[in-house]
């Protein structure tokens, strides 16, 4: 495993697209968390203006829930990074060359699994560090248990990021072309699946939409518990936004989907000529 980790790090870290997309992902997250506390909303339909104060999102232990939620919003970046990395192996003929050199096909795939875990872990750690910094700045009168009580939300974020990238891995291995895979990823995630969900919700079963892979994976981190959320929940216009399966069920589904994506990738890679 150390061998695969070393090989992947030689290949991935100097890659310009990886560096740029990585900086964009972390940068856009950091900018949004810096800007959000300074936003003042004036919504006439809300009586109590206090609930629009975003600063409450940055207080221990609520901050972990907020941040996991916010970071996960741009996970599609991570999926695209992965499509680049796996797509390159095909476009540069390197999956082929590495097998010639003596890697097994399962090692090819497990190398990418390590990349996925590495990227998710690095992001989780970055969120943890900045979360601590911002939490200490915005919170007052916190206890030790306040600081760490919601930390498991970062674990959910980690699983969410891994599952999303496993979906990208499957697309890349299946399509073998990064441009096509990126287009398919975006169309499926943003357009196709939401439409299918709407249709099955209307004609099959109201809750069936909740079980679709992208719905599960993109909504794994729960909405932060705020009065604002309560407002959304009671307003029927925002129903789709707030209705969700219990966290544990979503978590099980996400792990299940991730495993299926991995197994499909393995099957494709094992059967095909390189």
């Amino acid at each position: 495993m150390m061998k695969l980790l070393k090989i992947e790090s030689i290949k991935v870290l100097p890659y310009r697209v990886f560096q740029i997309l990585g900086i964009l992902y972390v940068g856009s997250f950091l900018i949004s968390i810096i800007i959000i506390p300074n936003i003042k909303l004036e919504a006439s339909m809300v009586d109590n203006q206090d609930i629009l104060n975003f600063k409450s999102l940055y207080i221990f232990p609520e901050i972990w829930k907020t941040w996991a939620y916010l970071a996960a919003k741009s996970n599609i970046f991570l999926a695209i990074i992965l499509l680049f990395l796996v797509g390159n192996e095909y476009s540069f003929n390197m999956f082929r060359q590495q097998v010639v050199n003596g890697l097994s096909r399962s090692e090819l795939l497990n190398g990418k699994l390590l990349v996925i875990i590495g990227i998710a872990l690095a992001n989780t750690i970055i969120i943890f560090i900045f979360g601590l910094i911002f939490g200490f700045i915005y919170s007052s009168g916190y206890s030790f248990s306040d600081v760490f009580s919601n930390l498991w939300m970062l674990g959910i974020y980690f699983i969410q990021a891994v599952a999303h990238m496993l979906f990208a891995l499957m697309l890349a291995v299946w399509l073998r072309n990064k441009t096509l895979a990126i287009v398919v990823l975006i169309i499926y995630q943003v357009i196709l699946e939401p439409i299918i969900r709407l249709v099955v919700k209307k004609y099959v079963w109201t809750k069936l939409g909740l079980f679709f892979p992208m719905r599960v994976i993109t909504r794994l981190t729960p909405l932060p518990d705020l009065t604002l959320t309560e407002f959304f929940k009671t307003n029927s216009d925002f129903q789709d936004f707030t209705v969700s399966l219990p966290i544990w069920a979503n978590l099980l589904l996400a792990v299940g989907y991730g495993t299926i994506f991995y197994l499909i990738s393995r099957q494709i890679l094992r059967k095909r000529n390189l």
Partner: protein, 301 residues
């Protein structure tokens, strides 16, 4: 020692029968050429041997064992084009190879010097010329001093000087007793570099044998007699015979230069041996290859 043995290896791509029931044996120390025009199944054969294309039928063994990544680690192989990460430097690319094969990274500077790319070691692969890329690929497959080299058209895209360099390099490596499997469509290349050769056309084996006997045009004489033991002792004493092998009742005889098969027949009759079969197989490499190339040319419009 047998390095590689294939048994009726077979592969089709749709309607194209790329490799047809190919059986080969490559022994340790041989420089074994696979000669054939484009589309004769050379690359497909090597791709199957290196595990990137699955055969439809047949089997092969490297070092007497079933194919595995561990066998590939003992082989330095270049299949088709040189493949590297274009955004990584030469050094970084070779580090990846070292890690895969479990070779110490100190070997990198040795092979880079060997292929005269040492001063370019920090350049990105994408900035190299075609000839340099080819040389780097040769350097990469020499990493860790592998027992066997597999080369697919190694002089492709090189200028005459580069071609000479690569051939020298191959001969140099071969002289250290390594086994080399070399696919080429250039007769001259196989003639200059290889000890043994198989000629392929559209996936079929046309001829096979030692390069010097094929090139010198010594024909193979196949004999059978009702008294095989007598024939055996007579052949082993005959001054006309270069070498012979026996498979059951069938004797395959290679005659000395300028000896005609009629001379052998006369001698055998003189020793009172009656042949039940005498067959001469034309085995001139050049004839066969020219024939091949002629046939594979497209018809004139």
């Amino acid at each position: 020692m047998i390095v590689l043995e294939t048994d009726r290896l077979d592969k089709s791509y749709g309607a194209v029968h790329a490799v047809n029931q190919l059986s080969l044996t490559v022994e340790s120390g041989q420089v074994y050429g696979i000669l054939g025009p484009n589309g004769s199944g050379k690359t497909t054969t090597l791709s199957m041997l290196m595990g990137i294309v699955a055969p439809d039928g047949g089997s092969f063994r490297w070092f007497g064992e079933k194919p595995s990544p561990a066998a590939n680690i003992r082989i330095g192989a270049l299949i088709e084009t040189p493949n590297f990460y274009p955004y990584l430097s030469l050094e970084q690319n070779l580090k990846v190879v070292c890690r895969i094969k479990g070779i110490d990274e100190s070997d990198i500077s040795r092979v880079l010097s060997l292929v005269s790319l040492r001063e370019r070691r920090r350049s990105r692969f994408a900035t190299l010329s075609l000839g340099m890329k080819q040389r780097l690929a040769l350097g990469a497959l020499l990493l860790g001093d592998p027992e066997v080299l597999v080369l697919d058209e190694p002089t492709n895209g090189l200028d005459p000087e580069g071609i000479a360099e690569v051939r020298n390099l191959i001969r140099q490596v071969a002289s250290t007793g390594k086994t080399i499997l070399l696919a080429s469509h250039i007769l001259d290349e196989v003639e200059k570099v290889c000890t043994h050769v198989v000629v392929l056309k559209k996936g079929n084996k046309l001829a096979e044998g030692k390069v010097d006997s094929l090139i010198q045009g010594r024909d193979l004489v196949i004999l059978e007699s009702e008294e095989p033991e007598k024939l055996n002792s007579s052949l082993s004493q005959s001054p006309l015979v270069e070498s012979f092998s026996r498979e059951g009742l069938e004797f395959r005889v290679e005659l000395k230069p300028d000896v005609k098969h009629a001379d052998l027949n006369r001698e055998l009759i003189g020793s009172g041996i009656v042949l039940s079969r005498m067959e001469v197989r034309k085995n001139r490499l050049e004839d066969q290859f020219l024939e091949l190339v002629k046939q594979s040319k497209p018809p004139m419009p």
